[in-house]
Symmetry: C2
Amino acid sequence: MPTYKAPIDEVMFLLNDVFRIERHNNLPGFSDATPDVVEAILTEGAKLSEGVLLPLNQSGDRDGCVRNADASVTTPNGFRDAYRLYAEGGWVGISGDPAYGGQGLPQAIGAIINEFCTSANMAFTMYPGLTKSAFSALLAHGSDEQKQTYVPKLIAGEWLGTMNLTEPQCGTDLGLLRTKAVPQPDGSYAITGQKIFISAGEHDLTPNIIHLVLARIEGAPAGTKGISLFIVPKMMVNPDGSLGARNSVSCGSIEHKMGIHGNATCVMNYDGATGWLVGEPNKGLNAMFVMMNEARLGVANQGLAQSEVAYQNAAAYAKERLQGRSISGRKAEDKVADPIIVHPDVRRMLLTIRAFNEAARALLMSTAIEVDLAHQAGDKALAQRAEDRLGLMTPILKGVFTDLGFDNCVLAQQVLGGHGYVAEWGMEQFVRDARIAMIYEGANGIQALDLVGRKLPKDGGRAFMSFMSEVAQTLESVKDDAELTFDVKAMKQGLDRLQQATLWFMQNAMAKPDNAGAGSTDYMHLFGLVALGHMWLLMCKAALVAKAEGRGDPARWASKLAVGRFFMERMLPETGTRLARITAGADAVMAMPAEAF
Amino acid sequence: MPTYKAPIDEVMFLLNDVFRIERHNNLPGFSDATPDVVEAILTEGAKLSEGVLLPLNQSGDRDGCVRNADASVTTPNGFRDAYRLYAEGGWVGISGDPAYGGQGLPQAIGAIINEFCTSANMAFTMYPGLTKSAFSALLAHGSDEQKQTYVPKLIAGEWLGTMNLTEPQCGTDLGLLRTKAVPQPDGSYAITGQKIFISAGEHDLTPNIIHLVLARIEGAPAGTKGISLFIVPKMMVNPDGSLGARNSVSCGSIEHKMGIHGNATCVMNYDGATGWLVGEPNKGLNAMFVMMNEARLGVANQGLAQSEVAYQNAAAYAKERLQGRSISGRKAEDKVADPIIVHPDVRRMLLTIRAFNEAARALLMSTAIEVDLAHQAGDKALAQRAEDRLGLMTPILKGVFTDLGFDNCVLAQQVLGGHGYVAEWGMEQFVRDARIAMIYEGANGIQALDLVGRKLPKDGGRAFMSFMSEVAQTLESVKDDAELTFDVKAMKQGLDRLQQATLWFMQNAMAKPDNAGAGSTDYMHLFGLVALGHMWLLMCKAALVAKAEGRGDPARWASKLAVGRFFMERMLPETGTRLARITAGADAVMAMPAEAF
């Protein structure tokens, strides 16, 4: 059975040494997040993930969810009890608004707890996962009455929320949406249509489920301009907050899928269900985008989380499994063979994963801090900068973290050889579970188009320029550090390639948009590598400071520098291939007629 | 349900235009393989794969194999009937020695049929798959009596064969093997031990199963020098060829695994089972290597085969699924949206797969032709050149085809979005099935070490130099072709990088072998890209000739050139990243102590 240990030390290093969150202690939320409090919270989160959620991961995968004859859904054994602990611990609302019962801690802390729980049990953590996005959307766009009725229950985890966009004929292209909403005399709407791929659409964890549903009000314009957002509770809510009658929404079936078997992926049938409009008619996408952007960061986190737990198990195996001898001379004379960690190719696999994990956690945390700054800073310029950065980084994190998170699970599985392929060791589950993150909340190709087509040119490229100048500043700040000479040189080359790629789009994509489309995925990954490299510079710098000040274990700082060096030597050079592909343009891609495929 | 159409046109193009197999019609086997005969055989193979095997692929995955209380194993519904057709069609022995009842056709033809069947149903095709390697090993190392007793039955598919190497403590490192063999008065051996991960170890397809088992004769030296190979039949064989008593070998359990559910992966328990020595005592690995090398090419073929069927289904979906509009202006005015094939990023995914598939099929065929030449040529120099090339290419094909084959299944799955993640469409099964090919028959990291540590330096680098000079010759032959100017330039750069990487190993790996280990996987992929690029040059050249001669559909040759260009522009540049990683050396890889992982 796989093991997991929440990486608390790494997190504390990031919070205190790399990002120095005490700088922000003038902000609400951060003022409560003293290092001691944070460490205590992380320790509790670690206990929950390691002790409660991890033991249910394999059994949840094996047993899956069951849709019963009455259309109810039973979650795997143990999920109900685990969820009770999760909700009672206040974890759903850890970063939620205190005015509605939330803990009010920074998003950065919430993201870390989310990583821990997702590493331990991704399918389980998806149940409360979308609820956080749901109450954010309601807080941003709901009426006061809606906020009062639903948000406290969601933040407390008494009810859970879902996100209903996809229909059989309508995935990426929401303009094709058909679910209809007919106004009723009481101000509600009758919602009719079928939604598919609805995560946690039906389950037995909470007495009510609050569906946020996109639908088209009768007579509304075609396309995306006629889409509205509705609250459709599974159980009607009485004025006093108690539960009333069953609404006309039900689970038609659950999908048989590659992974996340513990999470019920439902076909949801709306048969004139009662729904309540959120925000203005035909402006549903604005509200849904609040939910979607938060959800995208959550999905990015899934890529990291699966990569982390996969790494831990592969590294443990590599240190124990005796097989063959080191090519540079035997290392374990007393044993029948050396542990396979002696082999450079095994280390290559492990270091590839780890060099991503540590930098990805840093990048996710820095982005989560931007969420906090964007919402809370009194300083308008700072808030705008944070908003810009968040918009720019969201598609990169979603696309790159989930692509690499999956690749890393595959690498980790490879370390175990045949044992990685059988269910017993749990590695193949990480691969199957991680795979979905590249697809949902906007397939990664859509993230790349969002980056290149919208986020990059937005406001005259302001967000991009701010990113470039921040990295240049970091490079300037470490340029005289003898231990980072190589890293600085490598990063300058990476940054230069990102600049070249961006210029190439400016010069070649206006006249021919296919040039942007053909290079978008490569651009997203090029950008991601540079952004991860930037985190490595910051982490190496912080490690050198700690080492110079004599803090912590010197071996730890040496490892940090070694993994950083591995990233610069082995992973950043991929920027060259990415640039070559981008500047090849769209000609070969578009040459063949559709029927030749 | 997924569809599949065997790519007969592609195969005929390769056989007749690219490799012109009529050149070899002085050789046995080839003389019978006239274009008409070949096309007829391919058509029959296509019928079998499309009509019989494909319909059992999803159900075989869903139902899996069952081990019964009496230790027998039941294969999925329909497998028995399908196997009867397969065996009666003579497909097991298609390239088998006619002296033992085989069809005697070239390995190149056998490999193609194997591709078709594996695309249609990988788990099924694995049952007869290892039997081909088993009779090759017996023909090379068995006694006359063993050949007469077992080979005709195996070639006819009346019995099937297996390969028993792995034990719980012994995977890659066969020196750790413990299964023991005790000589008996009648000349047989009593075999005792446990083997794991035995594909098709037990099943209900044939009345007998012939296990080829590695074991250590009592008193034999430790390590790999004391390993012998034994035939252990499931049912004892009477002198007249009829079946006798049950041997003491049985299936202890079957593995629950990520994919290939239709194939029984068994724990095999040998409890003093009667076995017969094959070849000399303590020389078992020599005989097993015959089997293993053939099996490795078969596994390479699995990478290609899964990539091909995944491509076909993703391309079909991309042409049908309506979603969004082309960024260069709408294409299907009469529809609610354009088919997603209009999007450059979707084409990028499809072309990445296809540019591999077409070149990989060519490379596999050219390697299979070398197998034929090595075995059959009267010309000693030619036979040696063929043997060299086969040795060099085997690890590259196994490692690169299975890595890219898997990556391609993941890409193809991505084209379908959420529909790729649910079982219904079959795409996620291709991913799960393809994953094993990177692991078994020597994990890909082992292939890379075999390439760098053994195949490259062997005979003073003779095989490598012969490869380099052949590619240089091809480049010379197309250098004046105006339509290939870009391709020639790109390939020259790729070839130059391969040369540089090889030189770097020569200069840096002698003194420090870890430098070879740390770069071995990147080297294998660098080599693979160049070898695939070489196939693209040959295919483009052949397409230009056909076009100039007015043969075939001009649109087909235009597609061939377009996909070739895509390979050169988008895939070959990865050689740059690979070279950078190789020349980074082992320092960062080996820097951390084991406990820091």
